[in-house]
Protein backbone atom coordinates (compact mmCIF):
# COMPACT_ATOMS: atom_id res chain seq x y z
CA UNK A 1 0.00 0.00 0.00
CA UNK A 2 2.66 2.47 1.05
CA UNK A 3 4.69 1.65 -2.05
CA UNK A 4 1.60 2.16 -4.15
CA UNK A 5 0.95 5.63 -2.79
CA UNK A 6 4.61 6.59 -3.26
CA UNK A 7 4.50 5.37 -6.84
CA UNK A 8 1.32 7.34 -7.48
CA UNK A 9 2.92 10.53 -6.17
CA UNK A 10 5.94 9.94 -8.40
CA UNK A 11 3.60 9.65 -11.41
CA UNK A 12 1.96 12.94 -10.56
CA UNK A 13 5.14 14.86 -9.82
CA UNK A 14 6.90 13.64 -12.97
CA UNK A 15 4.06 14.58 -15.28
CA UNK A 16 4.14 18.26 -16.13
CA UNK A 17 0.57 18.21 -17.37
CA UNK A 18 -0.89 16.86 -14.16
CA UNK A 19 1.18 19.29 -12.13
CA UNK A 20 -0.19 22.18 -14.16
CA UNK A 21 -3.76 20.96 -13.77
CA UNK A 22 -3.28 20.36 -10.07
CA UNK A 23 -1.56 23.52 -9.05
CA UNK A 24 -1.75 26.02 -11.89
CA UNK A 25 -5.46 25.61 -12.45
CA UNK A 26 -6.71 26.78 -9.04
CA UNK A 27 -4.59 29.90 -9.19
CA UNK A 28 -5.59 30.83 -12.72
CA UNK A 29 -9.26 30.08 -12.19
CA UNK A 30 -9.60 32.08 -9.01
CA UNK A 31 -7.79 35.06 -10.48
CA UNK A 32 -9.65 34.78 -13.76
CA UNK A 33 -13.08 34.60 -12.21
CA UNK A 34 -12.18 37.13 -9.58
CA UNK A 35 -10.85 39.80 -11.90
CA UNK A 36 -12.09 39.24 -15.40
CA UNK A 37 -15.31 37.31 -15.57
CA UNK A 38 -17.31 39.22 -13.07
CA UNK A 39 -20.99 39.87 -13.44
CA UNK A 40 -20.84 42.99 -11.31
CA UNK A 41 -22.66 46.03 -12.54
CA UNK A 42 -20.70 49.20 -12.76
CA UNK A 43 -21.13 52.49 -14.62
CA UNK A 44 -24.26 51.46 -16.50
CA UNK A 45 -26.25 54.19 -18.19
CA UNK A 46 -29.73 54.61 -16.76
CA UNK A 47 -32.29 57.07 -18.10
CA UNK A 48 -35.17 58.63 -16.24
CA UNK A 49 -38.77 59.57 -17.05
CA UNK A 50 -39.88 61.92 -14.34
CA UNK A 51 -43.15 63.75 -14.94
CA UNK A 52 -43.53 64.78 -11.29
CA UNK A 53 -40.09 66.25 -10.80
CA UNK A 54 -40.58 66.90 -7.06
CA UNK A 55 -38.27 66.57 -4.06
CA UNK A 56 -39.01 62.84 -3.57
CA UNK A 57 -38.26 61.75 -7.13
CA UNK A 58 -35.18 63.92 -7.19
CA UNK A 59 -33.99 62.37 -3.97
CA UNK A 60 -34.50 58.87 -5.31
CA UNK A 61 -32.60 59.75 -8.47
CA UNK A 62 -29.78 61.17 -6.43
CA UNK A 63 -29.59 57.98 -4.44
CA UNK A 64 -29.52 55.90 -7.60
CA UNK A 65 -26.78 57.85 -9.27
CA UNK A 66 -24.76 58.27 -6.12
CA UNK A 67 -24.60 54.49 -5.70
CA UNK A 68 -21.75 54.19 -8.17
CA UNK A 69 -23.42 51.47 -10.19
CA UNK A 70 -25.34 53.76 -12.50
CA UNK A 71 -24.42 56.69 -14.68
CA UNK A 72 -26.97 59.38 -15.42
CA UNK A 73 -28.39 58.80 -18.89
CA UNK A 74 -30.91 60.92 -20.72
CA UNK A 75 -34.06 62.53 -19.47
CA UNK A 76 -36.91 61.07 -21.49
CA UNK A 77 -40.53 62.12 -21.81
CA UNK A 78 -42.53 59.50 -23.68
CA UNK A 79 -42.93 55.81 -24.36
CA UNK A 80 -41.59 56.17 -27.90
CA UNK A 81 -38.50 57.89 -26.62
CA UNK A 82 -37.89 55.02 -24.21
CA UNK A 83 -38.07 52.45 -26.97
CA UNK A 84 -35.82 54.48 -29.19
CA UNK A 85 -33.15 54.89 -26.55
CA UNK A 86 -33.16 51.13 -25.89
CA UNK A 87 -32.91 50.37 -29.59
CA UNK A 88 -29.99 52.69 -30.00
CA UNK A 89 -28.34 51.06 -26.99
CA UNK A 90 -27.95 54.35 -25.16
CA UNK A 91 -29.02 52.83 -21.85
CA UNK A 92 -29.63 49.50 -20.15
CA UNK A 93 -32.42 50.58 -17.86
CA UNK A 94 -35.05 53.30 -17.61
CA UNK A 95 -36.67 54.41 -14.37
CA UNK A 96 -40.22 55.71 -14.84
CA UNK A 97 -41.79 57.66 -12.01
CA UNK A 98 -45.50 58.20 -11.46
CA UNK A 99 -46.83 61.75 -11.87
CA UNK A 100 -47.50 63.81 -8.74
CA UNK A 101 -45.22 61.47 -6.86
CA UNK A 102 -44.70 63.46 -3.65
CA UNK A 103 -48.34 64.51 -3.42
CA UNK A 104 -49.58 60.92 -3.74
CA UNK A 105 -47.16 59.93 -1.05
CA UNK A 106 -48.46 62.61 1.27
CA UNK A 107 -52.05 61.56 0.67
CA UNK A 108 -51.07 58.07 1.77
CA UNK A 109 -51.31 56.59 -1.70
CA UNK A 110 -48.53 54.50 -3.09
CA UNK A 111 -47.10 56.04 -6.25
CA UNK A 112 -45.56 53.66 -8.74
CA UNK A 113 -42.02 53.42 -9.97
CA UNK A 114 -41.42 51.36 -13.07
CA UNK A 115 -38.04 49.82 -13.81
CA UNK A 116 -37.63 48.92 -17.47
CA UNK A 117 -34.53 46.95 -18.27
CA UNK A 118 -32.94 45.79 -21.50
CA UNK A 119 -33.42 42.06 -21.14
CA UNK A 120 -31.56 41.09 -24.29
CA UNK A 121 -28.85 40.49 -21.73
CA UNK A 122 -30.97 38.82 -19.06
CA UNK A 123 -28.31 38.41 -16.41
CA UNK A 124 -27.34 42.05 -16.45
CA UNK A 125 -30.98 43.14 -16.62
CA UNK A 126 -31.72 41.04 -13.59
CA UNK A 127 -28.86 42.53 -11.68
CA UNK A 128 -29.71 46.10 -12.64
CA UNK A 129 -33.30 45.71 -11.49
CA UNK A 130 -32.18 44.12 -8.26
CA UNK A 131 -29.69 46.86 -7.52
CA UNK A 132 -32.17 49.62 -8.28
CA UNK A 133 -34.83 47.88 -6.24
CA UNK A 134 -32.50 47.68 -3.33
CA UNK A 135 -31.68 51.33 -3.52
CA UNK A 136 -35.31 52.40 -3.80
CA UNK A 137 -36.30 50.12 -0.94
CA UNK A 138 -33.62 51.78 1.10
CA UNK A 139 -35.03 55.16 0.32
CA UNK A 140 -38.53 53.96 1.16
CA UNK A 141 -37.37 52.87 4.53
CA UNK A 142 -35.72 56.19 5.28
CA UNK A 143 -38.91 57.91 4.22
CA UNK A 144 -41.19 55.93 6.49
CA UNK A 145 -38.83 56.38 9.40
CA UNK A 146 -38.59 60.15 8.90
CA UNK A 147 -42.36 60.63 8.92
CA UNK A 148 -42.80 58.66 12.14
CA UNK A 149 -40.01 59.89 14.32
CA UNK A 150 -36.35 60.78 14.56
CA UNK A 151 -34.53 61.14 11.33
CA UNK A 152 -32.24 58.23 10.71
CA UNK A 153 -30.78 57.57 7.36
CA UNK A 154 -30.61 53.79 7.11
CA UNK A 155 -27.87 52.12 5.21
CA UNK A 156 -28.70 49.94 2.30
CA UNK A 157 -27.48 46.52 3.06
CA UNK A 158 -27.22 43.72 0.61
CA UNK A 159 -27.40 40.52 2.61
CA UNK A 160 -24.51 38.05 2.34
CA UNK A 161 -22.61 40.07 -0.17
CA UNK A 162 -22.71 43.66 0.94
CA UNK A 163 -20.38 44.92 -1.73
CA UNK A 164 -22.30 42.92 -4.34
CA UNK A 165 -19.02 41.40 -5.39
CA UNK A 166 -19.22 38.74 -8.07
CA UNK A 167 -16.17 36.98 -6.73
CA UNK A 168 -18.03 36.08 -3.53
CA UNK A 169 -20.48 34.11 -5.58
CA UNK A 170 -17.82 32.56 -7.78
CA UNK A 171 -15.48 31.20 -5.16
CA UNK A 172 -17.81 28.42 -3.99
CA UNK A 173 -18.38 27.51 -7.63
CA UNK A 174 -14.67 27.46 -8.41
CA UNK A 175 -13.89 25.28 -5.41
CA UNK A 176 -16.59 22.89 -6.55
CA UNK A 177 -15.38 22.76 -10.15
CA UNK A 178 -11.76 22.31 -9.21
CA UNK A 179 -12.44 19.58 -6.70
CA UNK A 180 -14.53 17.84 -9.31
CA UNK A 181 -11.85 18.27 -11.94
CA UNK A 182 -8.90 17.24 -9.85
CA UNK A 183 -10.60 14.41 -8.04
CA UNK A 184 -12.76 12.83 -10.68
CA UNK A 185 -10.85 13.55 -13.85
CA UNK A 186 -7.37 12.89 -12.52
CA UNK A 187 -8.26 9.58 -10.86
CA UNK A 188 -10.26 8.31 -13.80
CA UNK A 189 -7.42 9.18 -16.14
CA UNK A 190 -4.77 7.63 -13.94
CA UNK A 191 -6.67 4.37 -13.60
CA UNK A 192 -7.43 4.34 -17.32
CA UNK A 193 -3.73 4.90 -18.01
CA UNK A 194 -2.80 1.74 -16.11
CA UNK A 195 -5.32 -0.16 -18.20
CA UNK A 196 -4.03 1.34 -21.42
CA UNK A 197 -0.39 0.59 -20.65
CA UNK A 198 -1.15 -2.94 -19.51
CA UNK A 199 0.22 -2.37 -16.03
CA UNK A 200 -3.26 -2.87 -14.60
CA UNK A 201 -3.09 -6.53 -15.62
CA UNK A 202 0.15 -6.95 -13.78
CA UNK A 203 -1.39 -5.33 -10.72
CA UNK A 204 -4.43 -7.60 -10.92
CA UNK A 205 -2.20 -10.68 -11.18
CA UNK A 206 -0.33 -9.54 -8.08
CA UNK A 207 -1.60 -10.36 -4.57
CA UNK A 208 -2.94 -6.80 -4.24
CA UNK A 209 -6.70 -6.79 -3.76
CA UNK A 210 -8.76 -4.60 -6.11
CA UNK A 211 -9.80 -2.51 -3.13
CA UNK A 212 -6.14 -1.85 -2.30
CA UNK A 213 -5.42 -0.84 -5.87
CA UNK A 214 -8.28 1.65 -5.80
CA UNK A 215 -7.36 2.97 -2.39
CA UNK A 216 -3.74 3.38 -3.42
CA UNK A 217 -4.80 5.25 -6.53
CA UNK A 218 -7.17 7.52 -4.71
CA UNK A 219 -5.18 8.42 -1.63
CA UNK A 220 -2.75 10.89 -3.25
CA UNK A 221 -5.61 12.67 -4.95
CA UNK A 222 -7.56 13.01 -1.70
CA UNK A 223 -4.56 14.74 -0.21
CA UNK A 224 -3.84 16.95 -3.23
CA UNK A 225 -7.50 17.93 -3.65
CA UNK A 226 -7.65 18.88 -0.02
CA UNK A 227 -4.54 21.02 -0.33
CA UNK A 228 -6.12 22.57 -3.41
CA UNK A 229 -9.33 23.45 -1.61
CA UNK A 230 -7.37 25.08 1.20
CA UNK A 231 -5.19 27.06 -1.18
CA UNK A 232 -8.23 28.38 -3.06
CA UNK A 233 -9.75 29.48 0.23
CA UNK A 234 -6.54 31.22 1.29
CA UNK A 235 -6.13 32.85 -2.10
CA UNK A 236 -9.70 34.11 -2.28
CA UNK A 237 -9.56 35.32 1.28
CA UNK A 238 -6.37 37.33 0.97
CA UNK A 239 -6.70 38.54 -2.61
CA UNK A 240 -10.43 39.18 -2.80
CA UNK A 241 -11.42 39.27 0.85
CA UNK A 242 -13.95 36.47 0.57
CA UNK A 243 -14.99 35.65 4.12
CA UNK A 244 -15.55 32.33 5.83
CA UNK A 245 -18.38 33.32 8.13
CA UNK A 246 -19.21 29.82 9.32
CA UNK A 247 -17.14 27.11 10.88
CA UNK A 248 -13.92 26.45 9.01
CA UNK A 249 -13.78 22.89 10.33
CA UNK A 250 -17.25 22.20 9.01
CA UNK A 251 -16.31 23.70 5.65
CA UNK A 252 -13.27 21.44 5.41
CA UNK A 253 -15.27 18.40 6.50
CA UNK A 254 -17.91 19.04 3.84
CA UNK A 255 -15.16 19.56 1.26
CA UNK A 256 -13.68 16.22 2.25
CA UNK A 257 -17.07 14.59 1.74
CA UNK A 258 -17.34 16.15 -1.70
CA UNK A 259 -13.80 15.06 -2.59
CA UNK A 260 -14.63 11.47 -1.69
CA UNK A 261 -17.79 11.77 -3.78
CA UNK A 262 -15.90 13.11 -6.77
CA UNK A 263 -13.25 10.41 -6.41
CA UNK A 264 -15.80 7.64 -6.35
CA UNK A 265 -17.33 9.18 -9.44
CA UNK A 266 -13.88 9.17 -11.04
CA UNK A 267 -13.39 5.51 -10.20
CA UNK A 268 -16.79 4.75 -11.65
CA UNK A 269 -15.86 6.54 -14.88
CA UNK A 270 -12.59 4.62 -15.09
CA UNK A 271 -14.38 1.28 -14.76
CA UNK A 272 -16.40 2.06 -17.87
CA UNK A 273 -13.56 3.48 -19.96
CA UNK A 274 -10.61 1.56 -21.32
CA UNK A 275 -8.20 4.29 -22.24
CA UNK A 276 -7.19 7.76 -21.19
CA UNK A 277 -9.05 9.50 -24.01
CA UNK A 278 -12.37 7.92 -23.13
CA UNK A 279 -11.85 8.74 -19.47
CA UNK A 280 -10.99 12.31 -20.37
CA UNK A 281 -13.99 12.75 -22.65
CA UNK A 282 -16.35 11.18 -20.16
CA UNK A 283 -15.09 13.41 -17.36
CA UNK A 284 -15.31 16.47 -19.56
CA UNK A 285 -18.80 15.90 -20.85
CA UNK A 286 -20.33 13.90 -18.06
CA UNK A 287 -18.83 15.96 -15.26
CA UNK A 288 -17.43 19.32 -16.20
CA UNK A 289 -20.17 20.69 -18.40
CA UNK A 290 -23.03 19.73 -16.09
CA UNK A 291 -21.01 21.03 -13.17
CA UNK A 292 -20.64 24.38 -14.82
CA UNK A 293 -24.02 24.65 -16.48
CA UNK A 294 -26.47 22.82 -14.23
CA UNK A 295 -25.12 23.30 -10.75
CA UNK A 296 -26.37 26.82 -10.33
CA UNK A 297 -22.80 28.09 -10.44
CA UNK A 298 -23.37 30.43 -13.37
CA UNK A 299 -27.06 30.08 -14.20
CA UNK A 300 -29.47 30.11 -11.26
CA UNK A 301 -31.31 26.82 -10.91
CA UNK A 302 -34.58 28.72 -10.39
CA UNK A 303 -34.34 30.17 -13.88
CA UNK A 304 -33.96 26.83 -15.61
CA UNK A 305 -36.71 24.98 -17.46
CA UNK A 306 -38.39 22.44 -15.18
CA UNK A 307 -36.76 19.47 -16.90
CA UNK A 308 -33.30 20.89 -16.33
CA UNK A 309 -34.20 21.66 -12.74
CA UNK A 310 -34.96 17.99 -12.23
CA UNK A 311 -31.73 17.11 -13.94
CA UNK A 312 -29.80 19.45 -11.71
CA UNK A 313 -31.01 17.63 -8.61
CA UNK A 314 -28.87 14.63 -9.54
CA UNK A 315 -25.79 16.84 -9.97
CA UNK A 316 -23.65 16.50 -6.86
CA UNK A 317 -22.12 19.99 -7.32
CA UNK A 318 -25.51 21.63 -7.00
CA UNK A 319 -25.82 20.50 -3.38
CA UNK A 320 -22.23 21.16 -2.53
CA UNK A 321 -22.39 24.73 -3.84
CA UNK A 322 -25.43 25.33 -1.63
CA UNK A 323 -23.55 23.96 1.35
CA UNK A 324 -20.39 25.97 0.95
CA UNK A 325 -22.29 29.14 0.14
CA UNK A 326 -24.20 28.68 3.36
CA UNK A 327 -21.05 28.15 5.39
CA UNK A 328 -18.86 30.78 3.78
CA UNK A 329 -21.28 33.60 3.13
CA UNK A 330 -24.21 33.05 5.46
CA UNK A 331 -22.22 31.50 8.27
CA UNK A 332 -24.88 28.92 9.02
CA UNK A 333 -24.29 25.50 10.55
CA UNK A 334 -25.17 21.90 9.82
CA UNK A 335 -28.75 22.43 10.98
CA UNK A 336 -29.43 24.37 7.79
CA UNK A 337 -28.04 21.94 5.28
CA UNK A 338 -28.12 18.48 6.81
CA UNK A 339 -30.43 17.42 3.99
CA UNK A 340 -27.91 18.43 1.33
CA UNK A 341 -25.17 16.68 3.29
CA UNK A 342 -27.24 13.51 3.43
CA UNK A 343 -27.82 13.70 -0.31
CA UNK A 344 -24.07 13.91 -0.90
CA UNK A 345 -23.40 10.96 1.41
CA UNK A 346 -26.06 8.90 -0.36
CA UNK A 347 -24.59 9.75 -3.77
CA UNK A 348 -21.12 8.75 -2.59
CA UNK A 349 -22.39 5.38 -1.41
CA UNK A 350 -24.18 4.77 -4.70
CA UNK A 351 -21.07 5.48 -6.77
CA UNK A 352 -18.80 3.39 -4.56
CA UNK A 353 -21.19 0.44 -4.68
CA UNK A 354 -21.63 0.78 -8.43
CA UNK A 355 -17.91 0.89 -9.13
CA UNK A 356 -17.06 -1.98 -6.79
CA UNK A 357 -19.69 -4.00 -8.60
CA UNK A 358 -18.36 -2.97 -12.01
CA UNK A 359 -14.82 -3.77 -10.94
CA UNK A 360 -15.80 -7.27 -9.85
CA UNK A 361 -17.69 -8.00 -13.06
CA UNK A 362 -14.66 -7.01 -15.07
CA UNK A 363 -12.46 -9.36 -13.09
CA UNK A 364 -14.53 -12.50 -13.43
Amino acid sequence: MKRFVIKEFLHIFRDVRSMVILFGMPLVQVLLFGYAITNEVKDVHVSVVDPSHDQVTTAIQQKLFASGYFLQGEVLYSQSEIEESFRKGRNKMVVVFDDNFAQKLERGEIPSIQLIADASDPNTANLLVNYANGIIAGYNQSLSVSTNGPVIVPEIRMMYNPALKGVFMFVPGIITILLMLVSAMMTSISIAREKELGTMEVLLVSPLKPLHIIAGKVMPYVLLSFINAISILILSHYVFGVPVNGSLALLLAESMLFIVLALSLGIFISTVSNNQQTAMMLSMFALMLPTILLSGFIFPVENMPVVLQWLSTIMPPRWFILIIKSIMLKGTGLAYFWKETLILIAMTLVFILASVKKFKIRLS
Partner: protein, 249 residues
Protein backbone atom coordinates in the same frame (compact mmCIF):
# COMPACT_ATOMS: atom_id res chain seq x y z
CA UNK B 1 -5.57 -34.52 -8.97
CA UNK B 2 -2.94 -32.87 -6.83
CA UNK B 3 0.28 -34.27 -8.18
CA UNK B 4 3.31 -32.85 -6.36
CA UNK B 5 5.31 -33.10 -9.55
CA UNK B 6 3.07 -30.77 -11.56
CA UNK B 7 3.04 -27.00 -11.41
CA UNK B 8 -0.11 -26.63 -13.51
CA UNK B 9 -2.89 -29.16 -14.04
CA UNK B 10 -5.75 -28.40 -16.41
CA UNK B 11 -8.56 -30.83 -17.17
CA UNK B 12 -11.32 -29.93 -19.65
CA UNK B 13 -10.70 -26.23 -19.31
CA UNK B 14 -13.43 -24.36 -21.20
CA UNK B 15 -13.86 -20.63 -21.72
CA UNK B 16 -16.85 -19.44 -23.64
CA UNK B 17 -17.66 -15.87 -24.69
CA UNK B 18 -21.30 -16.06 -25.72
CA UNK B 19 -21.39 -18.64 -28.51
CA UNK B 20 -17.66 -18.31 -29.22
CA UNK B 21 -15.54 -21.00 -27.60
CA UNK B 22 -12.09 -19.56 -26.97
CA UNK B 23 -10.77 -22.57 -25.04
CA UNK B 24 -12.34 -25.89 -25.98
CA UNK B 25 -11.71 -28.58 -23.32
CA UNK B 26 -8.00 -27.98 -22.83
CA UNK B 27 -6.28 -30.78 -20.91
CA UNK B 28 -2.59 -30.52 -20.12
CA UNK B 29 -0.13 -30.52 -17.28
CA UNK B 30 3.07 -28.58 -16.78
CA UNK B 31 5.85 -30.22 -14.73
CA UNK B 32 7.77 -28.36 -12.08
CA UNK B 33 10.91 -26.69 -13.34
CA UNK B 34 10.21 -27.15 -17.05
CA UNK B 35 9.90 -24.56 -19.79
CA UNK B 36 6.49 -25.11 -21.28
CA UNK B 37 5.80 -23.50 -24.64
CA UNK B 38 2.21 -22.58 -25.33
CA UNK B 39 2.02 -22.07 -29.08
CA UNK B 40 -0.66 -21.06 -31.50
CA UNK B 41 -1.58 -18.56 -34.17
CA UNK B 42 -3.00 -15.18 -33.23
CA UNK B 43 -6.52 -15.70 -31.95
CA UNK B 44 -6.05 -19.40 -31.23
CA UNK B 45 -6.90 -18.81 -27.57
CA UNK B 46 -3.45 -18.60 -25.95
CA UNK B 47 -4.00 -15.33 -24.15
CA UNK B 48 -7.41 -16.46 -22.88
CA UNK B 49 -5.81 -19.57 -21.38
CA UNK B 50 -2.96 -17.66 -19.75
CA UNK B 51 -5.41 -15.15 -18.27
CA UNK B 52 -7.39 -17.98 -16.70
CA UNK B 53 -4.28 -19.58 -15.22
CA UNK B 54 -3.22 -16.22 -13.73
CA UNK B 55 -6.60 -15.59 -12.16
CA UNK B 56 -7.43 -12.64 -14.42
CA UNK B 57 -10.35 -14.43 -15.99
CA UNK B 58 -12.74 -17.08 -14.70
CA UNK B 59 -13.07 -20.27 -16.77
CA UNK B 60 -16.53 -21.40 -17.84
CA UNK B 61 -15.85 -24.95 -16.64
CA UNK B 62 -13.05 -27.38 -15.99
CA UNK B 63 -10.79 -28.54 -13.21
CA UNK B 64 -7.69 -26.39 -13.01
CA UNK B 65 -4.92 -26.21 -10.42
CA UNK B 66 -2.04 -23.76 -10.46
CA UNK B 67 0.80 -24.32 -7.96
CA UNK B 68 -1.51 -26.84 -6.31
CA UNK B 69 -4.42 -24.42 -5.83
CA UNK B 70 -7.84 -24.32 -7.41
CA UNK B 71 -8.34 -21.39 -9.82
CA UNK B 72 -12.00 -21.08 -8.86
CA UNK B 73 -11.61 -20.81 -5.13
CA UNK B 74 -7.98 -20.11 -4.24
CA UNK B 75 -6.87 -17.33 -6.60
CA UNK B 76 -5.41 -15.34 -3.70
CA UNK B 77 -2.99 -18.16 -2.87
CA UNK B 78 -2.13 -18.63 -6.53
CA UNK B 79 -1.37 -14.94 -6.99
CA UNK B 80 1.30 -15.00 -4.27
CA UNK B 81 3.10 -17.85 -6.03
CA UNK B 82 3.19 -16.69 -9.62
CA UNK B 83 4.89 -14.01 -11.67
CA UNK B 84 3.45 -12.47 -14.82
CA UNK B 85 4.81 -10.55 -17.75
CA UNK B 86 2.30 -9.44 -20.34
CA UNK B 87 2.76 -8.91 -24.04
CA UNK B 88 2.10 -5.26 -23.41
CA UNK B 89 4.93 -3.56 -21.71
CA UNK B 90 4.53 -3.76 -17.97
CA UNK B 91 7.00 -1.35 -16.36
CA UNK B 92 6.07 2.22 -15.46
CA UNK B 93 7.79 4.37 -18.04
CA UNK B 94 7.91 7.51 -15.94
CA UNK B 95 9.62 5.78 -13.03
CA UNK B 96 13.28 4.86 -12.78
CA UNK B 97 14.59 1.31 -12.92
CA UNK B 98 15.04 1.03 -9.16
CA UNK B 99 11.68 2.69 -8.46
CA UNK B 100 10.00 0.01 -10.58
CA UNK B 101 11.83 -2.72 -8.66
CA UNK B 102 10.87 -1.10 -5.35
CA UNK B 103 7.22 -0.85 -6.37
CA UNK B 104 6.80 -4.38 -7.69
CA UNK B 105 8.82 -5.86 -4.84
CA UNK B 106 6.63 -3.88 -2.43
CA UNK B 107 3.33 -5.15 -3.79
CA UNK B 108 4.58 -8.73 -3.39
CA UNK B 109 5.31 -7.95 0.22
CA UNK B 110 9.11 -8.11 -0.03
CA UNK B 111 11.09 -6.36 2.67
CA UNK B 112 13.08 -3.23 1.93
CA UNK B 113 16.42 -4.97 2.36
CA UNK B 114 15.58 -7.98 0.20
CA UNK B 115 14.31 -5.66 -2.53
CA UNK B 116 17.59 -3.76 -2.47
CA UNK B 117 19.61 -6.97 -2.51
CA UNK B 118 17.56 -8.51 -5.32
CA UNK B 119 17.66 -5.32 -7.43
CA UNK B 120 21.45 -5.20 -7.12
CA UNK B 121 21.81 -8.85 -8.12
CA UNK B 122 19.54 -8.58 -11.12
CA UNK B 123 21.02 -5.38 -12.49
CA UNK B 124 24.46 -6.89 -12.07
CA UNK B 125 23.44 -9.97 -14.00
CA UNK B 126 22.16 -7.75 -16.80
CA UNK B 127 25.31 -5.66 -16.57
CA UNK B 128 23.43 -2.40 -16.20
CA UNK B 129 24.10 -1.44 -12.58
CA UNK B 130 24.80 2.11 -13.68
CA UNK B 131 21.29 2.51 -15.10
CA UNK B 132 19.46 2.01 -11.81
CA UNK B 133 18.28 5.62 -11.56
CA UNK B 134 17.43 6.03 -15.25
CA UNK B 135 13.83 6.64 -16.30
CA UNK B 136 12.46 3.57 -18.10
CA UNK B 137 11.18 5.64 -21.04
CA UNK B 138 14.75 6.51 -22.03
CA UNK B 139 15.92 2.89 -22.20
CA UNK B 140 15.95 0.80 -25.40
CA UNK B 141 13.20 -1.80 -25.84
CA UNK B 142 15.54 -4.78 -25.41
CA UNK B 143 16.72 -3.67 -21.98
CA UNK B 144 13.18 -2.81 -20.90
CA UNK B 145 12.03 -6.28 -21.80
CA UNK B 146 14.81 -7.93 -19.83
CA UNK B 147 13.98 -5.64 -16.90
CA UNK B 148 10.30 -6.54 -17.14
CA UNK B 149 11.24 -10.20 -16.91
CA UNK B 150 13.55 -9.54 -13.96
CA UNK B 151 10.71 -7.72 -12.19
CA UNK B 152 8.33 -10.61 -12.90
CA UNK B 153 10.64 -13.11 -11.15
CA UNK B 154 12.12 -10.89 -8.44
CA UNK B 155 9.85 -12.34 -5.77
CA UNK B 156 11.02 -15.86 -6.80
CA UNK B 157 7.62 -17.22 -7.82
CA UNK B 158 6.97 -20.93 -8.32
CA UNK B 159 5.67 -20.31 -11.82
CA UNK B 160 6.23 -17.39 -14.17
CA UNK B 161 3.78 -16.73 -16.99
CA UNK B 162 5.20 -14.97 -20.02
CA UNK B 163 2.64 -13.80 -22.56
CA UNK B 164 4.48 -13.25 -25.84
CA UNK B 165 7.45 -11.72 -24.05
CA UNK B 166 9.59 -11.28 -27.13
CA UNK B 167 7.16 -9.44 -29.39
CA UNK B 168 8.88 -6.77 -31.44
CA UNK B 169 12.50 -7.29 -30.41
CA UNK B 170 15.47 -8.20 -32.58
CA UNK B 171 16.80 -11.80 -32.83
CA UNK B 172 19.90 -11.09 -30.71
CA UNK B 173 17.86 -9.67 -27.83
CA UNK B 174 15.49 -12.61 -28.15
CA UNK B 175 18.42 -14.94 -27.81
CA UNK B 176 19.62 -13.13 -24.69
CA UNK B 177 16.10 -13.16 -23.33
CA UNK B 178 15.93 -16.93 -23.69
CA UNK B 179 19.22 -17.24 -21.82
CA UNK B 180 17.51 -15.45 -18.93
CA UNK B 181 14.57 -17.85 -19.16
CA UNK B 182 16.94 -20.82 -18.94
CA UNK B 183 18.63 -19.32 -15.89
CA UNK B 184 15.25 -18.87 -14.23
CA UNK B 185 14.27 -22.47 -15.01
CA UNK B 186 17.59 -23.71 -13.60
CA UNK B 187 16.83 -21.78 -10.43
CA UNK B 188 13.67 -23.90 -10.13
CA UNK B 189 11.05 -21.53 -11.55
CA UNK B 190 8.54 -23.20 -13.84
CA UNK B 191 8.22 -21.18 -17.03
CA UNK B 192 4.94 -21.03 -18.97
CA UNK B 193 5.53 -19.06 -22.16
CA UNK B 194 3.26 -18.22 -25.08
CA UNK B 195 4.78 -17.24 -28.38
CA UNK B 196 4.12 -17.35 -32.07
CA UNK B 197 7.80 -17.44 -33.00
CA UNK B 198 8.30 -21.08 -33.95
CA UNK B 199 12.08 -20.94 -33.58
CA UNK B 200 11.50 -20.15 -29.89
CA UNK B 201 9.52 -23.36 -29.59
CA UNK B 202 12.74 -25.27 -30.09
CA UNK B 203 14.06 -23.82 -26.84
CA UNK B 204 11.20 -25.27 -24.77
CA UNK B 205 11.23 -28.61 -22.94
CA UNK B 206 7.72 -29.34 -24.14
CA UNK B 207 5.28 -27.46 -26.31
CA UNK B 208 1.56 -27.53 -26.88
CA UNK B 209 0.15 -26.21 -30.13
CA UNK B 210 -3.28 -24.62 -30.12
CA UNK B 211 -5.44 -24.36 -33.21
CA UNK B 212 -8.89 -22.78 -33.08
CA UNK B 213 -9.27 -23.08 -29.31
CA UNK B 214 -8.11 -26.71 -29.04
CA UNK B 215 -4.76 -28.26 -28.20
CA UNK B 216 -3.83 -30.17 -31.38
CA UNK B 217 -0.45 -31.45 -30.25
CA UNK B 218 1.55 -31.64 -27.01
CA UNK B 219 5.05 -33.15 -26.77
CA UNK B 220 8.75 -32.35 -26.83
CA UNK B 221 9.87 -30.47 -29.95
CA UNK B 222 11.93 -33.47 -31.06
CA UNK B 223 8.99 -35.90 -30.81
CA UNK B 224 6.68 -33.49 -32.62
CA UNK B 225 9.09 -33.11 -35.53
CA UNK B 226 9.36 -36.90 -35.73
CA UNK B 227 5.62 -37.40 -35.58
CA UNK B 228 4.78 -34.84 -38.25
CA UNK B 229 7.85 -35.62 -40.37
CA UNK B 230 9.02 -32.05 -40.27
CA UNK B 231 12.52 -30.62 -40.18
CA UNK B 232 11.62 -27.77 -37.83
CA UNK B 233 8.81 -26.55 -35.57
CA UNK B 234 7.60 -24.12 -38.21
CA UNK B 235 6.69 -27.01 -40.50
CA UNK B 236 5.00 -28.85 -37.65
CA UNK B 237 2.91 -25.79 -36.98
CA UNK B 238 2.00 -25.23 -40.63
CA UNK B 239 0.95 -28.85 -41.07
CA UNK B 240 -1.29 -28.70 -38.02
CA UNK B 241 -2.82 -25.39 -39.04
CA UNK B 242 -3.44 -26.62 -42.61
CA UNK B 243 -5.16 -29.79 -41.33
CA UNK B 244 -7.42 -27.69 -39.17
CA UNK B 245 -8.22 -25.39 -42.08
CA UNK B 246 -9.04 -28.37 -44.34
CA UNK B 247 -11.24 -29.93 -41.67
CA UNK B 248 -13.30 -26.76 -41.46
CA UNK B 249 -13.94 -26.56 -45.17
Amino acid sequence: MNNPETAIEAKDMVKQFGSFIANDHLTFSVYKGEIFGFLGANGAGKTTAIRILCGLSRPTSGEIRVAGYNVFTETEKIKKRIGYMSQRFSLYEDLTVSENFRFYGGIYGMSRTSIRKKTGEMLERLGITELSSTIIASLPLGIRQKLAFSVAIMHTPEIVFLDEPTGGVDPITRRQFWTMIYEAAEAGITVFVTTHYMDEAEYCNRVSIMVDGRIEALDTPANLKLKYKASNMNDVFLKLARNAGAGRE
